[in-house]
Symmetry: C2
Subunit: 468 residues, 2 copies
């Protein structure tokens, strides 16, 4: 039997456990540090900010599998399993001998994979008896996903949305409001950190780091409230492992195994989830699959950042994480469309990259939209700009196969749909989109504001990959 | 084994034939009339406007099944089968003993079921060697669907988009442009009929009937070009039968059969497709399933229209069809959000309704959006306003079951998603949405302009249902 276009697992094949990649990492990433003491953050340090269960997951380096709570399993059944799709028509259009597969996480109303972690996080919050949550959102997928989960579990939610995105995507805001959440463009006057940033940069379009600061400040000052985050954190990668586990089960069902796995990388939630079981194979030396992170040239944390301790937010109120970073004060150019605008990168992925288990490339957004339009015309799915970064690199890989004749099996993550990104598409179609490539001195300005962490300074270093 | 939330057929179970309900109708609807002769339209009359194969399908009353061309079958595999979903969480929220299922056609980039017919129509156009097509679009789903199919088959496309919709949904326009089609707000200066309408009503928001006139005029004046339509026509209902056939196969697979099938009705494309196999059962007296059409109170063609011959377009250049109509000059109030704004109704459905095989109800749009928001919060899918008409009535049926204790099985069609309708959602959430109910004299004005068709006048009559 030939391989179908869309491979759907049965409902009972949806994974019932999350996979914690840290249990298989030969070396752990450096610990989060409490910014007031420069000492490793403890469970007690994290509890005022995060739900208890999520704080535990954040620090757990040994539990290989976590049971997915039953109510979360039920929630997943409303939108999972997501299809693994064979890109027959894209292959044909490219004339490549490569086989291209993509795991499509966009067929839910949040328009992305973010709902996977939102469902889990809101469940744990509800279990703990919390009554409200705060978060930030950039491109808007995470805010939408969380508003959906909060509507379902009946929890109040305040979303700080990066102001530039809020202005560019008024309808994304409306969707979040439809699900009953409050949405506040960030920076705002509702927090001390917001007021301070507005004072210094009254016209700023905001940044994810800044929105995080505001959401955390509000959470710790509100009774029975916690902050939740849609990327970067270990807990999020844990929940998103469902993407990779499902992808692998679907590929197993058709006797396929990828030669290369490609994912877009902003904070790392999709990439970390998609690659999880393949990275496990690689760490256990069962496979030499290539794993490729794709990021925008305009926000190149892996390819041009430094592997050092830094704040996770612009307001410098979160714990310090050792990660690839452009500096917490870095804000991508206003020309940059869509998400993937975070200054740092998941500590887990940063460590794996630093240790050579993963590659990274950066791509220009005009090339990304070129790939997005080509993909849409042949595969009939309008991709999110973020996802289109992975499409760009998958196409580049497939075209390389066309040159060499190699019949590679390519798997990439199609994280979401672009229905709320039409302003960016219009700008591209009108030939008005530009590519911003930060100069070395632009980046230096960000690096100059990195925190001085004496206790771990000696172990920090510039990335060996930073020049690739 | 319990019934899963989402029932997906296997790829090889996607129907390979369309079902033509006319082959089983005890009486045929009255024939289309050539407006210049008042005589039944012949194949030769239709060929200048429609592709040859589609013109044939339009007139065929005896062929029960049409093979779906192989390339169209392949195209379908990119987005079909669509899921049949058990609304477990909506049932729970309502506390109803009813079982609610919905066939979800919105998980493709057109955001609706319209892609089913677009794929077929563009295939036939390509086979015939045509180089371009024209069409109209109201809410935008049809225009998007057709632009997707034209991009795939590499045919030029001009879309006349109802001006009010184009202004309310600028991003819908961008999506259509992303797939390479030209889009022109209607009425426009590009056609004689458009110029004439603009002269009389310079500020009009346009109507579907008017956009049809413009698209037809352009098609017949352009070499190697034809007009295609996304609803109303018999050929469209034929293609859309895939919705019903797939729904029935999925319900069969879990040993279910609906007591009531509910679909929203504008021109009838979704409703006619969804109900096709159930209507067959009913016509053959194998089932007494109830079939319910839901329309807006602001555009009540079935519930308050007349069953007479009328033009299919505002410009009066198309054939005359006997159907439930508000008069081809009827334009729904500007307050009316979304689609379902056509003045008439599929001749097939009109006949079935007239002969008592089908019920019809009309619903207010504020009640429709109330249902849409409730549905979104519990089922995690943001419905299109059009689809939410069916949700409203399904909820009403389920609540009736709650009163009576009946464990009915309800099936409704969720035709699409509402990502491009956020302006309407925002208006609803802000309490600014109003309900427009046309007065009898409003409707009388439309009826007064009905054509005087001497040859068939005696057989036309006011609907026996028009007062229900």
């Amino acid at each position: 039997m030939s391989i179908p276009y869309r491979i759907y697992l049965d409902e009972e094949q949806i994974p019932k456990k999350y996979y914690n990649i840290r249990a298989d990492m030969p070396e752990q990433h450096d610990p989060l540090l409490n910014p007031t003491t420069d000492q490793p953050a403890t469970l007690e340090d994290l509890k005022p900010v995060f739900c208890d269960e999520l704080a535990k997951q954040e620090l757990d380096t040994t539990t290989r599998y976590f049971d997915i709570p039953k109510p979360v399993q039920e929630f997943y059944k409303m939108f999972r399993p997501s299809p693994l799709i064979r890109a027959y028509n894209l292959e044909k259009a490219l004339g490549t001998p490569a086989k291209i597969y993509y795991k499509f996480e966009g067929n839910n109303t949040s328009g992305s994979h973010k709902l996977n972690s939102a469902a889990a996080q809101v469940h744990y919050a509800k279990e703990q008896g919390l009554t409200s949550l705060t978060t930030e959102t950039g491109a808007g997928q995470w805010g939408t996903a969380l508003s959906m989960a909060c509507a379902f579990y009946n929890l109040d939610l305040t979303v700080y949305m990066v102001r530039g995105s809020a202005e560019q995507k008024p309808y994304r805001k409306s969707v979040i409001e439809t699900f009953g959440a409050d949405i506040i463009p960030s920076p705002s006057n509702t927090t001390a950190v917001g007021r301070s940033i507005l004072k210094e940069h009254p016209d700023t379009g905001g940044s994810l780091g800044c929105a995080i600061s505001e959401a955390v400040e509000t959470a710790v000052n509100t009774p029975n409230c916690r902050y939740v985050l849609g990327s970067v954190l270990n807990q999020v990668l844990l929940h998103q492992s469902i993407i990779g586990l499902e992808s692998k089960a679907a590929m197993d069902s058709i006797d396929e195994y990828p030669d290369v796995v490609i994912g877009c990388a902003g904070g790392g939630s999709n990439l970390g989830g998609l690659i999880a079981p393949y990275m496990q194979d690689k760490l256990k030396e069962r496979s030499d699959v290539r794993i490729v992170a794709v990021e925008p040239v305009s926000c190149p944390s892996l390819t041009r950042g430094r592997y050092v301790y830094d704040f996770c937010d612009t307001g410098k109120i979160t714990p310090l994480a050792r990660m690839y970073t452009l500096g917490s004060q870095f804000m991508p150019s206003a020309d940059h469309a869509g998400g993937l605008r975070y200054h740092g990168m998941s500590p887990i992925l940063s460590k794996l990259y630093h240790d050579g288990y993963m590659e990274a490339v950066s791509v220009q957004q005009t090339k990304v939209f070129e790939a997005a339009v080509l993909f849409a015309k042949h595969e009939t799915i309008l991709p999110a700009p973020e996802s289109a970064h992975a499409i760009r690199t998958a196409i580049d890989e497939a075209m390389e196969c066309k040159k060499t004749g190699e019949e590679k099996t390519i798997l990439f993550g199609l994280t979401g749909t672009g229905y709320f990104d039409m302003q960016a598409y219009s700008s591209y179609l009108a030939g008005k989109m530009t590519d911003y490539i930060p100069s070395d001195s632009d980046l230096e300005a960000g690096f100059n504001q990195l925190p001085n962490v004496e206790s771990i300074k000696s172990s920090s270093s510039t990335s060996v990959h930073s020049m690739t």
